[in-house]
Symmetry: C2
Subunit: 786 residues, 2 copies
């Protein structure tokens, strides 16, 4: 690719300056004005919003970058995506998409005239309008930036397998202090210049956060350059406080950056991948709140943290401030920007891209438009068959790994697997039969499965994995994230933000198309943390998600390999969900054949006849369970009870999809009361062995009429490094404690005391045995059903 | 301070090598051996543990560092603390504290003889023994490292206000990939060389994680150096694969590092603080699993990720592997290390510090030993007085800020306040009357409140704030963390790890003294996110903590300024807790005078007589609430009901400490059933207005006999940028919806339909008003009680 010498003409500078004034004017208008958008009338208090809510400080910088990206798009016909790290600068993105026309394409009610401008201004941060952040409502956005730190990993996620896409990612120097952002700079070790696109990070060094200077703005320039060299980038420095000078500097910097990106890509695509490239980045040092009020109340505002939000407020209480606003707005010369009908009159067309290349029209930012459904192999081909139930021991996740490998093989360029250095540990290594791990850093001779075009992505940062995955999904592709159950809590808050994005985009924004679901496999779970112990024992992620919109959340506990396969297929087909699958990686007993597994998973909950007594219409006891390990214990307890009390009628219930327990008014997954009561009867004690915290079940069944019959065993925050069975005993989720509780809840058991004593004796033997031998009792380890 | 030229003698090298061999032998012994600790007998299968659980890879490096730190302690009499980032290398820390004698001081049962060695070996990662990680059980530790990423921020937290302490912090190159760790390098911009100690980071570049190379080991050396220069450090490079050469290099590096640290401190302490110093760090590049098996099954182990855990396992299934273990163990020449009674015979005494300086004896690592209780001012001095209830509008957190300022003034060098750039936004800025913000980076002329000796610590990384705070607490000091409610979820998992640490250290380890509590103020809460919106609306942190050991967790919802003051004092007095206080920063109505506030907070829950009907022995309805905004709505609803139904008997209940609702068997805070039923009666509908998710209350009262009477209003994940009252309406927590629900739950209300229609009309008026005016109805905004 050749780039013209881009020395801007003085006309260009003037035009760009007008373009920027236009964007800034429309930004300030959104923050302040309820009416009189063109300042045709003298500004009055009733033209000003009663509650002034928004963020000015970052906005002029975001505008400047948008404009210069548009210039380079026009120049080079590049496909660009704008990722707004300082997402609180919402006015900038609304302004720019309005100017280029993409806003009106998405919201025909907001036309490019006086009425449209008035509506645009009023709706911002106004009840019934749009949020003040770059929320899903904004065309062209895949990153809200409400909770800071994820812009860069989202940008990288967006460009994987999009070789022609450049994600221009604005990183605020405030956001740059967060952990997730600090880690994500290293994503450049995972970009394949042949098959992936590129990220152009733009560090906006405006110097201040809410109320403090930023760290990166207060270290020497050479130290900052070193930092980014150390992260593997070649920084291009742009610095000015002169509105005329800045455009030339920006144009040069963007030319250089895009030219370097294209050269790197061209070279790799022509000659093959050799070494990790050093990608360009831009450091843009400009004043915070640039072009806004210089001071207010004798305190500095421009170039200071005081410009972060609304530079001056409470005009209704201080009408004299109206003049400040008037002066500020008029400094952009609206009469030169708009004609009398509110149409943009300044001639900036030469810097506005064709519609198909406008960033607000990017199909990548409305990823569902580009989604190609996965070609999914038949899970039956991966079926674990067995002669008798509860005999065959298989690692369920290993089988799932084989299935995922087949999915990978059928869907190259459309599917990736993510994990924090745990993919093999989680037994998904069959994937390496069909692909490798993404790796463009240095390689050693004895390395295995590391390739620039590998499709399993591992970095020891859960935040970066999650951010990449979200970026990949938001741009319409598919994926799978496996993680130790305890450590997925590290990204609790990221999952919250994604759930909020999904809720809003699926329920409130008609132009946003459904995107593939965010699928988690949580394994190495609380019950099998053999060498790790208490710090690795936490099943709380599901509780966290259960607080989010239940239409978005699905929580699955497949009890064996075949059910895991069925659920695996199901989640890969779904859209606009966060699916959590909890399943252990250790070899465990198998219970259902494929046909049964399919039926069971379709219902999400069911009675297992083969584990129940013959007459289950009127049982004496219900033994229920959710989770692979609890299922084993519940079955073992059932077997003990069958032996001790042959006449006891036990109904055995297994729950795969625990949202079936929830109130049907909150989620479509919830059983009706009739269905629920048919399964759980009305007057029978229910011993429920659950994988996670008992409170999770309590809250789901709170409104069910028979909920007082439930006696829930689960994780009670007791743990250490010990044997698998001892972990269950510590939390009273083991078979013996289940039997004890069943006996206590049943009435009229003649030999109650004897049975309790017998169970206590078994627990006593267990404790002695493990302290002496360091291993579980053989009778417990070798339990089989038949 | 002068340092001798530390060129080691060849005898020194030999001794250090033996010392290292000793530590490595004791490490391998812990991982593998059940018996025969001195290899006096030929190694048999029954000497080997049945379940081999632990991590070898990082261990020899941790040992090497420990030994060389001991050398420098002996040499310079420095006070050092060892912070183990790769905390899964538990055997190293157990081995080294055993060798120096501090382990036996803490656990007299483990003597330095054959029996003690046998016990030490057996207990490791064994039921009834010690966890495999550097858990609270290990003397000298303040950092477990189970969940990676917090070592460096813990280390910095430990040295604030400890001018003589050096925290040597080992950072694994795996951990270095995490977000929290990547951000925490910048902590050096917050170290005051005069009043704080120093952190010596030691990046252990052993090249591999669980199953992958690390990023930092696969970038060019100059890039890595640039990265750390960019982070503001001067790296000292130590690299070798030669066991004889390494000691000299390590000694030189540690000499240089400690010398530089002391020079920096001396200069600042003599001449005053001028510029931020460039602190030294060490990059130690040595093979992973060094001195272990070179290969296994023809695959590389030493210097490879395959050494990460137990290099070869299942000896019982493969008895031929016994020889490999025997060879490995004997490579350390145990016969030279121990005498026949298992006493250490190799003469390493010259490198073992005096007991008072041994890292395993550091009082800083058992911080409660050093805790000086805070001198607390009388909250009555900060009392908000008022003539009539519900008239005075005051920002509760602003008053708390004045109290915290007084606390700060009385407890310099013992108290710090932490926050992610939100201290002023959260209205705690009275603190700046008595102190400044910690800042040692560059300053500009117009900066305010930035000083090297400031005691308010702000960085836009919740992880770093939390890590600093934990490190400060774990070393026995006090603090306070204020944060937007939504974004505290970013450190959910860190709070989990701290809760686990507190549970174990307070309930299971008798030598660990109580440490001051971790106190959170969550403000800018879900109901007042005026300019931020949905991404900032999440009250889920309390749900997350409620899953942890209830003896460790306290959750407070003070309804006004005086109650906030009382709770503030209470949490600052407490130990071994995680206290969460949720209170808004906006000016709100005041309800209780100081005397009432004290009584109310002492009970944690209470009937407000003045808001109740005259006859509350047998009420018709209970109006209950927890949280400042819900209290206003519940009172407003009560007032509406009083007016509409003058004969209706309403009992008004406010909950400050929501753990009072919990089952008393799970927490000492829980009301007995008798107390609970006295407050909530038995047959009366209870309308409960709650600050957070209703599920939080459901799970707490699940076992209370009257729980079916509770009708809980709270946050239902509905939100956007809108008016404060509209947020309540969106979630049906507003006064009108509370009244509607009360009417529906009450029987025999004659004019039921009229009242419902009236409330619906008010809601309709509200919606119209906000969409038109962008503000709340005056009647709602100006509600007063009297």
């Amino acid at each position: 690719m050749t780039i013209k010498n881009n020395k801007l003409t003085s006309d260009d500078v003037k035009t760009l300056n007008q373009y920027w004034a236009l964007a800034n004017y429309i930004s300030v208008g959104q923050i302040y004005l309820l009416d009189n958008p063109l300042l045709k009338e003298d500004l009055r208090l009733d033209h000003v919003k009663p509650r002034l809510l928004g963020h000015w400080g970052t906005t002029p910088g975001l505008n400047l970058i948008y404009i210069h990206l548009n210039r380079i798009i026009v120049e080079t016909k590049s496909k660009l995506l704008y990722v707004t790290g300082p997402g609180h600068g919402g006015p900038a993105l609304a302004a720019n998409t309005y100017i280029e026309g993409s806003y009106t394409k998405h919201y025909p009610d907001i036309q490019k005239n006086e009425d449209g401008l008035k509506k645009l201004f009023k709706q911002f941060s106004f009840p019934g309008g749009i949020p003040s952040h770059v929320a899903p409502e904004i065309p062209g956005s895949i990153n809200e930036g409400g909770e800071l730190g994820y812009a860069l990993s989202h940008a990288f996620g967006a460009v994987f397998d999009n070789p022609d896409l450049i994600a221009a990612c604005v990183v605020g120097d405030g956001e740059a202090e967060t952990g997730s952002l600090a880690a994500s700079w290293h994503s450049n070790k995972f970009i394949n210049p042949i098959e992936d696109g590129a990220v152009l990070p733009i560090l906006h060094l405006n110097g201040y956060k809410i109320a403090n200077p930023t760290i990166l703005a207060r270290i020497p320039e050479d130290e900052l350059i070193n930092l980014f060299n150390g992260y593997g980038y070649e920084p291009i420095w742009v610095e000015s406080t002169d509105v005329n000078e800045i455009h030339q500097l920006m144009a040069d910097a963007f030319d250089k950056a895009v030219h370097t990106i294209k050269s790197i890509q061209q070279s790799a695509r022509e000659h093959g991948f050799t070494d990790r490239p050093v990608w360009p980045m831009i450091i843009m040092k400009t004043p915070k709140g640039w072009t806004g009020p210089k001071t207010f109340d004798n305190e500095p505002v421009e170039g200071n943290w005081r410009s972060h939000q609304v530079p001056f407020k409470d005009l209704h209480g201080h009408p004299e401030r109206l003049e400040l606003l008037d002066t500020w707005l008029k400094s952009y010369h609206p009469e030169e920007l708009f004609d009398s009908k509110g149409r943009i009159k300044t001639n900036i067309n030469k810097f506005i891209p064709d519609e198909s290349l406008q960033m607000g029209m990017s199909p990548h930012a409305n990823g569902g438009k580009l989604t190609v459904p996965l070609v999914l192999p038949d899970v039956t081909d991966f079926n674990i068959s067995f002669d008798s139930r509860g005999y065959e021991k298989t690692s369920a996740t290993r089988i799932l790994g084989q299935y995922l490998a087949a999915v990978m093989d059928l869907n190259r360029a459309n599917f990736r697997v993510f994990g924090p250095d745990e993919t093999a540990s989680n037994r998904l290594d069959a994937l390496y039969d069909v692909t490798d791990k993404t790796w463009v850093a240095e390689k050693h001779e004895d390395d295995i499965h590391l390739q620039a075009n590998g499709r399993v992505m591992e970095i020891l940062s859960e935040h970066t994995c999650q951010g990449w995955f979200e970026g990949y999904l938001l741009t319409g592709r598919h994926g799978f994230f496996s993680c130790y159950e305890a450590f997925i809590n590290i990204i609790n808050s990221m999952a919250t933000q994604h759930a909020k994005w999904l809720k809003v985009s699926s329920q409130e924004i008609c132009w946003r198309k459904p995107i593939p679901s965010l699928n988690y496999l949580l394994t190495s779970h609380v019950w099998r943390q053999d060498h790790n112990g208490f710090s690795h024992q936490d099943p709380g992620f599901i509780n966290h998600l259960a607080n989010k919109d239940p239409q978005v959340i699905r929580l699955y506990f497949p009890p064996d390999a075949n059910t895991l396969l069925v659920i695996g297929e199901q989640v890969l087909r779904s859209t606009n969900k966060i699916n959590v699958i909890v399943a252990g990686k250790q070899p465990q007993l198998q219970w259902l054949n494929m046909e049964e597994a399919k039926n069971h998973c379709q219902q999400g909950i069911g009675v297992w006849d083969w584990a129940s007594s013959s007459d289950i219409k009127s049982p004496d006891l219900i033994m229920a369970c959710a989770g692979d390990v609890p299922t084993i214990e519940a079955l073992a307890a059932t077997k003990i009870l069958n032996k001790l009390l042959p006449n006891l009628k036990i109904k055995f219930v297994n729950v795969v999809n625990i949202m079936t327990l929830a109130n049907p008014s909150s989620t479509s997954e919830g059983l009706t009361d009739k269905e629920f009561n048919e399964i759980f009867n009305l007057q029978v004690p229910i011993i429920f062995a659950f994988h996670g915290y008992p409170s999770m079940i309590h809250r789901l069944i709170y409104n069910r009429s028979c909920h007082a019959n439930f006696h829930i065993h689960g994780f009670n925050e007791e743990g250490t490094t010990t044997t698998p069975f001892d972990m269950l005993v510590l939390n009273k989720l083991d078979r013996f404690n289940l039997v004890k509780n069943a006996i206590l809840r049943l009435k009229n058991i003649k030999n109650e005391a004897t049975i309790i004593a017998d169970m206590d004796h078994k627990l006593y033997r267990h404790k002695n045995y493990i302290v002496e031998k360091g291993d579980d009792l053989p009778e417990v380890k070798n339990f089989i059903w038949d």
